[in-house]
């Protein structure tokens, strides 16, 4: 899977087709909104029993990204777990899988609105992480610069020859990048909806995920 290169605060970053962000200079891989344990939480809250495979699926795609870029630092940008209890009730096999992925590298859990407290799964738990000119946090702040965030699960639609194509996307302007959700059981918010359209600068681009990630002017 290919990647799209762009610059924020003078740093060269890559929006990867799988939905992860890579910072080659620091060998840092960042993914957002994994929502592990979502089906377990739904079942607990008297909902339907969704196919319980999303944690497995999300972890295998993450594993593939780790194998592809071999990062030294992994930053999970918040909402990594659907809630604290969902983190606790991962299967032993899934917990071991996470531990194995953490081996030999720095691993940071940024807190999100779904998972504000620390988790007992190794790695460091932080509210936000500044590295050089960049700051990694869950929810974008107005007026911030050099900011890498998630939370909104942005997606974009474009229409070509009568075909409407909607994909999760990165949103990028001069000050920030917002990552798409990496978790399997996640929906999205269209980038023309107010929180996103008002947050992003006039020149913002959207990078649709898929085999050939490339930027388009952000649909508004």
């Amino acid at each position: 899977m290919k990647a799209h290169d762009f610059n924020i605060s003078g740093m060269r970053l890559q929006a990867r087709g799988a939905g992860a962000l890579y910072w080659p200079e620091r060998r840092l891989l960042c993914v957002s909104d994994l929502h592990l344990g979502k089906s377990e939480r739904r079942a607990r809250l008297q909902g339907a029993t969704l196919p319980p495979y999303e944690t497995q699926d999300t972890l295998s795609r993450l594993d593939a990204e780790l194998a592809a870029v071999e990062p030294e630092i992994v930053v999970c940008l918040g909402d990594s777990f659907d809630d604290a209890e969902a983190a606790l009730s991962l299967s032993d096999q899934e917990k071991i899988w996470i531990t194995r992925m953490q081996a030999g590298r720095r691993w940071v859990w940024i807190e999100g609105n779904h998972d504000p407290g620390p988790v007992d799964l190794g790695g460091t738990h932080l509210s936000e992480l500044p590295i050089g000119p960049l700051t990694f946090r869950h929810i974008a702040q107005k007026g911030a610069s050099g900011e890498v965030s998630g939370h909104y699960h942005p997606k974009a639609r474009l229409t070509a020859k009568g075909r409407s194509i909607t994909r999760p996307c990165f949103l990028i302007d001069d000050e920030r990048v917002i990552l798409p959700a990496f978790g399997t059981y996640t929906g999205g918010m269209h980038c023309d909806e107010p929180p996103l359209s008002t947050l992003m600068g006039a020149e913002a681009t959207a990078v649709l995920t898929g085999p050939f990630p490339a930027p388009i002017p952000m649909p508004r």
Binding site: Y53, A160, A214
Partner: protein, 798 residues
């Protein structure tokens, strides 16, 4: 008169009315456990259904609910209440009647449960809800009769399966319950009878005199219809003239969009200001009710409508039915004709208005079939398991249940008579635990067994389950509202809304409105003064022509001379012959042409929609392999139209038999038909909730598409119950691949590809078909790349 209390007999006498023979027969057979009455509309069918009830209730001795009346439309239940109250009041009978639907106020619903009326008029969904309450045994205690109106329409969909399951539950609550089905003319009465009866009990079939033969013909119009197009604008003056000449005219359309466009044009031409209204399923309830009231009061001269008026509302003085667009299916044509002339002994009058020239041919074929009484229809499959899953949830909401007892109860419902214990256990296991290959949710099962009885783990879940009862799929509709605090105008499909940009105009409820934006899942519009809307493409229901009709059409085309067809249509067929050729049975004609920036092929198989649909799937797979970048296809009964990025010069290699099968399963699994089907199945079975408590609070990020669930199941649990149901159901809409392979074998060597510069006369109507199936392959990535480059260049960024 036998069995008839004096009050009722006197009421008939006072009006100088004779009891119809079939009404008498219904009274005579009132004690039968199950009866199916087949009678034309206007034959006093509903009164025939109710007479035994009125007779039994006349002495005032019955306490509680006596008769449950179930109809497919809420409006029909409300209408029936008016129609019944009048004679009951005039006869002075001590009978309480009430209706119940989603629109009934909560206070009245509560009162009905505490103290049920003698006659309750309702819908299958409201009935399913009623049996989910713990007090269902109280509500239905002493119930004697169930009358199912328009049972032929209910039997065509899962609403019928749900209803027949509900009957099996009612039978347990009120043993000895008698069942009556009322039906319009159908091709296989025994099939419907077997659904109504408690399996394996017999069902009496009574057929009323069908009355005089209907007067149907094509409407003579001087102007020629267009080559393609569904608006039938050319027919406006002629239709207005008919409205003027008749008391009340119903003008049927096949889709809501066509109805909107026609109504708009009719209104522009209506210089005399004749009172004409519009009625279809996308309009807001208040608006529909206004039209229904005006119609009952005889205030309207014309009503432009869709299938929402198909069912037997009592529309007073309708004396003409106009069908715009080919009726597609002879049974529906006959049933629509039944709308005209509710007086029993006068022939009903109907006129067909083809919207384009191909439809002239279709209408002619339908007319011949109708005159010959050649009703078409597909046999019905066994009861679907997603509906059974919902039924099990409903049972759990009402009370803890014993699985053995529920299994036997379910098997007494006609559609589920052949249900195996293994199938039932699969459904129960899905409802209880999700039924996944991976053991999960041991702590959070939906149902748990306690003391040998299944029950909800958390009884509070019942409220959520009740909010999602029903089998009607309308989850992708968005409400349309005037900006500000304006009234609701109706609903449009989410996909249509997604295609709008602010400033676009479209028609709804006969008004042109301007799209302003989407706000909290509501489409906000303002009034627009323009006269030309962007065409509304929200689609309504897709109707398939029956295979029999498409065979008739092919025979007509092959005739070579068409004395029965109007001159313009003869010219049009001649033009097709000149530009390309007419299809025949010995070879397969494939036309290949560019149109609107894409490449197309049109394959004239005349094999019926299911077979043409299967052909679309097979050919797009082969085109993907050949690197022809297919984007999608649409199938009608006579042809498949496929579009893509690259031209097809020779279609023959696409029919290569050896390569058709290889990799087919994977191609099918990824297809939109499967995903669409899964969405409906998963919603009905209770995996996806359409309505949740406090839905507004959760952000849009929280909801994710059913396609994700489908892909996940297909990857990790391919043998899961819901995928098996999805495959079965999707395959019912497709034909056996063996038959396609047979056709491929038969015509091999006789596949003629004609490469043409533009759309041909015969292919043009296909562009209007609804039910397009997108294909996901290399073309999407190619399109995405091309469009990305174009956008960046346009923005000066590349």
């Amino acid at each position: 008169m036998a069995n008839l209390p004096p009050e009722i007999g006197a009421w008939f006498d006072a009006r100088g009315w004779e009891i119809h023979p079939h009404q008498r027969a219904m009274l005579a057979r009132a004690a039968d456990p199950a009866t199916l009455l087949i009678a034309p509309t206007g034959g006093g069918k509903t009164l025939a259904g109710f007479l035994p009830t009125l007779a039994e209730l006349a002495d005032g001795g019955h306490v509680g609910l006596h008769t449950l009346y179930v109809s497919p439309l809420k409006a029909l239940a409300a209408d029936m209440k008016r129609n019944l109250l009048m004679p009951v009041t005039e006869m002075g009978l001590p009978i309480r009647i009430d209706d119940r639907s989603g629109d009934t106020p909560a206070s009245r619903k509560r009162a009905q449960r505490a103290d049920p009326p003698h006659i309750l008029l309702t819908t299958p969904e409201s009935l399913a809800l009623l049996i989910s309450y713990p007090d269902a045994p109280h509500i239905f205690r002493g119930l004697k009769r169930v009358v199912i109106d328009e049972v032929h329409a209910l039997a065509e969909s899962k609403r019928g399966d749900q209803l027949f399951l509900a009957l099996s539950r009612l039978e347990t609550l009120a043993p000895g319950l008698r069942r009556v089905g009322l039906s319009a003319t159908v091709d296989r009465p025994e099939e419907i009878a077997s659904l109504i009866a408690r399996h394996p009990a017999p069902c009496t079939i009574l057929e009323a005199d069908p009355g005089p033969a209907p007067d149907i013909d094509m409407l003579r119009i001087d102007d020629a219809p267009p080559w393609s197009g569904g608006g039938a604008a050319y027919a406006i003056p002629a239709v207005l003239e008919e409205v003027r000449k008749h008391r009340t005219t119903l003008i049927f359309h096949n889709t809501r969009a066509q109805a909107e466009i026609f109504f708009h044009n009719l209104w522009l031409a209506n210089d005399e200001g004749l009172p004409i209204g519009i009625h279809h399923g996308s309009l807001a309830r208040e608006q529909r009710e206004r039209v229904e009231k005006a119609m009952v009061a005889g205030e309207l001269r014309g009503i432009v409508c869709t299938g929402s008026l198909d069912l037997g509302l009592d529309w007073g003085d309708v004396d003409l039915v106009i069908q715009v667009g080919a009726p597609k299916n002879v049974k529906r044509l006959i049933q629509r004709i039944g709308r005209a002339n509710h007086r029993y002994n006068a022939p009903s009058k109907a006129r067909l208005v083809p919207a384009n020239r191909f439809e002239v041919v279709e209408c002619q074929a339908a007319l011949e079939a109708a005159r010959e009484g050649d009703l078409d229809g597909e046999p019905r499959g066994p009861g679907p398991l997603d509906v059974l899953c919902q039924h099990i949830l409903i049972a759990a909401c009402a009370a803890p249940f014993d699985e053995e007892a529920l299994y036997h109860e379910v098997k007494s419902a006609g559609p589920y008579a052949g249900l195996t214990r293994a199938q039932f256990d699969d459904c129960l296991s899905f409802v209880a635990t999700g039924g996944y290959a991976l053991r999960a949710y041991d702590r959070w099962q939906r149902l748990i067994a306690r003391d040998g009885l299944w029950q909800l783990r958390d009884p509070r879940a019942a409220a959520r389950i009740r909010m999602n009862i029903g089998t009607i799929q309308d989850s992708d509709l968005l409400k349309v509202r005037m900006r500000g605090r304006g009234p609701a105008l109706g609903e449009i499909e989410e996909a249509f809304a997604a295609s709008l940009t602010p400033g676009d105009t479209f028609l709804i409820g006969g008004k042109i409105v301007r799209y302003e934006g989407l706000r909290e899942m509501t489409v906000e519009v303002t009034r627009d003064k323009g006269r030309k809307p962007k065409v509304a493409t929200f689609s309504g229901t897709k109707f398939a022509t029956s295979t029999q009709l498409s065979e008739r059409i092919l025979r007509m085309l092959q005739a070579g001379a068409w004395p029965d067809l109007p001159a313009h249509t003869r010219d049009w067929l001649a033009l097709q012959q000149e530009m390309s050729r007419l299809p025949d049975a010995d070879s397969l004609l494939v036309e290949s042409f560019p149109h609107d920036g894409r490449e197309h092929i049109c394959v004239y198989g005349f094999a019926g929609r299911n077979a043409q649909q299967t052909l679309g799937l097979l050919l797009t797979k082969r085109m993907e392999e050949e690197g022809l970048a297919p984007l999608g296809f649409v199938a009608t009964d006579y042809a498949t139209l496929i579009w893509g990025l690259d031209p097809v010069q020779d279609a023959a290699p696409l029919f290569d038999l050896d390569r058709l099968r290889a990799g087919l399963d994977g191609w099918l699994a990824g297809n939109a038909v499967m995903k669409r089907t899964f969405r409906a199945v998963a919603t009905i079975a209770g995996l996806i909730e359409r309505n949740t408590v406090g839905q507004k609070k959760s952000g849009r990020q929280a909801t994710f598409s059913s396609d994700i669930l489908y892909d996940t199941l297909a990857k990790y649990d391919p043998d899961h119950l819901l995928l098996r149901i999805t495959r079965d159901e999707a395959m019912r809409g497709l034909v056996d691949f063996a038959r396609i392979e047979e056709m491929a074998a038969r015509v091999q060597g006789h596949i003629e590809t004609r490469r043409l510069p533009r759309v041909t006369p015969l292919a043009a109507p296909l562009f209007l078909e609804v039910g397009k199936v997108p294909v996901s392959g290399a073309a999407e990535e190619r399109l995405l790349r091309e469009e990305t480059e174009r956008l960046m260049q346009a923005a000066g960024l590349a």
